[in-house]
C-alpha cells in the first residue's frame, strides 16, 4: 500500500470523529457482518494511528517580537 504522503494527514479531531462514528455503527443492532468486519478493521487502524500520533507528537513554536508586528 503506497503511503499517500501528498495528502495532508487527517488531524486528530477528524480521526477521533471517524473512530467515534465507527463505534456507534458497530453498536447498532442491525449492522451487517461484512460491514462490521471492515468497520472493525478501520477502527483498529485509527486507534493505532492515534496512539502513534500522541506518542510521537512534538509542538513547534514560532517566535515573533512586538516590533515585528507593529503597524499590522
Amino acid at each position: 500500500m503506497t503511503k499517500d504522503t501528498a495528502r495532508p494527514k487527517p488531524r486528530y479531531e477528524e480521526l477521533k470523529a471517524e473512530l467515534d462514528n465507527i463505534v456507534e455503527q458497530l453498536q447498532a443492532d442491525d449492522v451487517d457482518v461484512d460491514a462490521a468486519l471492515s468497520l472493525y478493521k478501520r477502527g483498529r487502524e485509527i486507534v493505532e494511528q492515534l496512539q502513534e500520533y500522541l506518542k510521537t507528537a512534538e509542538n513547534t513554536v514560532h517566535h515573533l517580537d512586538a516590533t515585528d508586528v507593529e503597524g499590522t
Binding site: 468486519l37 492515534l50 507528537a57 499590522t72
Partner: protein, 377 residues
C-alpha cells in the same frame, strides 16, 4: 559672559520660546490629577492636570484617550509642551496613562459600563474554543513565568501543535498598542489560527492596566479567531477577560483548557480498542447464533416437510391399500373373473360358464352350475 537681555516682539518671543522648549523638552510626561475634563465637537479633548499647587492645561484628540476619563483621576500625560500665540501654554497630548489603584479601577468601571452598553461582553457573542486546536496564537511576555508555565503544561499535555508566539510587553505605556497590534497580526495569518491566547501573570492594578484598556479590550472582542485570556491569580476580571470568548484563571489553567491530556486520551483509546473488540465479537456471535438458528429452523422445516410428505405417502398408501383388491381376500372374500373380467354381478353369467376364482392364497377354475337370487344384494 554676555548677559545682554534680548528684545523680541511677542510672536518672535513665542517662536523662540517654543524652539527652546522643543530643544530641551521635545516630549515630557506630567503626572497629576485630571480636572475640568471636556470633549468638544466629539473630537477635541481639553483638561487640566494639576497637583496641590499648580495646574497645566492639556489639549489633544479623543484618539489619545485610553478610555473614559473624568475629573479626579490620576494620570501620566505624555505630550509636547507648547506655548500657543493666543491660548497660552499647554501640553499637546500624545498619550495618557492612568495611574493609581483608585483611578484605574474607576476608569475600568466607566469603560465597562460603556462597552457593556455596546454589547462587547454579551454572552451571545462567545464562541466555543476548538476541542483540539492544531494552531495556536500566543501573545505574552516571553521572559515571563506565565509563558514558561503555559508552554510547559502545553507540551506535557499535547503534541503536534503549531504555536505562533508574539513577544510583547504586558504592562507599561506601550503594552496596549503592542498587544492590540499582536492580535491584529495573528488575525492576518492564513489559513486562520484555531485559537488566540493572551496570557500574563498576576500583578497590581497598574500592572494589569493594559488588560483594562479600551484598545486591548476592543482588539480581543474584534478578533475573528476565538480568544482565550488568562491573567494569573486574579479574583476580579479585567475587561479583556470579559471580552474574550473564554477566560482561564491562570496561564497554566489556560493550557489545561486548550488541549486534552495525552495520557487520558491514550487511556480512552485503549477503552475504545476493547469496545471495538467487544462489539465485533458481539456482532460475530450474533451472526453465528443467527446462522445456527437458521440451521435449526431449516432442520425443523425439513423434518416437518418430510413428516408431512411421509404422512401423505402413508395416507396414500393406506388409500392404495384400501383400493387394493387383493386386500379383501384376507377377509375370506374371493375375486371371480369370467373371461378375465372381474364379475360384480351375475348378469353376464349363465350356467356352464367357466369362471376363475382368486382366493387370498391360490386360485381355481369353476363351472357355473346355478345362479341364485342372493347375489343381487
Amino acid at each position: 559672559m554676555n548677559n545682554q537681555v534680548i528684545e523680541l516682539g511677542v510672536s518672535d518671543f513665542v517662536a523662540v520660546f517654543n524652539q527652546t522648549l522643543e530643544g530641551v523638552y521635545p516630549e515630557i510626561i506630567v503626572v497629576g490629577e485630571i480636572a475640568n475634563f471636556r470633549v468638544s465637537q466629539r473630537r477635541w479633548v481639553y483638561f487640566d492636570i494639576k497637583d496641590e499647587t499648580a495646574s497645566i492645561r492639556c489639549f489633544g484628540t479623543i484618539y489619545s484617550l485610553p478610555g473614559p476619563l473624568e475629573d479626579g483621576m490620576m494620570a501620566k500625560v505624555r505630550g509636547r509642551p507648547h506655548l500657543h500665540e493666543r491660548y497660552g501654554f499647554s501640553i499637546n497630548i500624545l498619550s495618557i496613562q492612568l495611574a493609581g489603584e483608585g483611578t484605574l479601577r474607576r476608569a475600568a468601571d466607566l469603560l465597562k459600563v460603556s462597552l457593556t452598553r455596546e454589547g462587547l461582553f454579551d454572552p451571545a457573542r462567545k464562541r466555543l474554543l476548538p476541542e483540539v486546536p492544531a494552531r495556536i496564537g500566543l501573545i505574552t511576555a516571553k521572559q515571563s513565568a506565565a509563558y514558561a508555565d503555559f508552554i510547559k503544561i502545553l507540551n506535557a499535555r499535547w503534541g503536534r501543535l503549531d504555536i505562533d508566539v508574539v513577544n510583547v510587553q504586558v504592562q507599561g505605556e506601550v503594552a496596549p498598542s503592542q498587544i492590540a497590534a499582536a492580535i491584529a497580526h495573528l488575525n492576518t495569518i492564513a489559513p486562520p489560527l484555531d485559537v488566540l491566547t493572551l496570557i500574563r501573570g498576576g500583578g497590581s492594578s497598574e500592572d494589569l492596566a493594559a488588560f483594562n484598556s479600551e484598545q486591548v479590550t476592543r482588539a480581543v472582542a474584534g478578533s475573528r479567531i476565538p480568544t482565550l485570556v488568562a491573567i494569573g491569580h486574579e479574583i476580579d476580571f479585567t475587561l479583556a477577560e470579559l471580552a474574550a470568548d473564554c477566560r482561564a484563571s491562570t496561564p497554566s489553567n489556560a493550557a489545561e483548557l486548550l488541549v486534552p491530556e495525552k495520557k487520558q486520551i491514550l487511556r480512552e483509546l485503549r477503552v475504545t480498542q476493547h469496545s471495538l473488540t467487544r462489539h465485533i465479537a458481539y456482532v460475530m456471535n450474533n451472526a453465528a447464533a443467527a446462522v445456527s438458528q437458521y440451521t435449526e429452523q431449516l432442520d425443523r422445516l425439513i423434518r416437518q416437510r418430510l413428516q408431512r410428505l411421509s404422512s401423505e405417502v402413508d395416507g396414500q398408501a393406506q388409500l392404495l391399500e384400501a383400493f387394493n383388491p387383493t386386500a379383501v381376500l384376507k377377509r375370506g372374500y374371493a375375486i371371480v373373473r369370467h373371461n378375465g373380467r372381474v364379475l360384480r354381478n351375475t348378469q353376464a353369467l349363465s350356467v356352464g360358464n367357466m369362471i376363475e376364482v382368486q382366493l387370498m392364497q391360490g386360485a381355481l377354475g369353476a363351472v357355473v352350475e346355478n345362479i341364485g337370487e342372493e347375489s343381487k344384494r
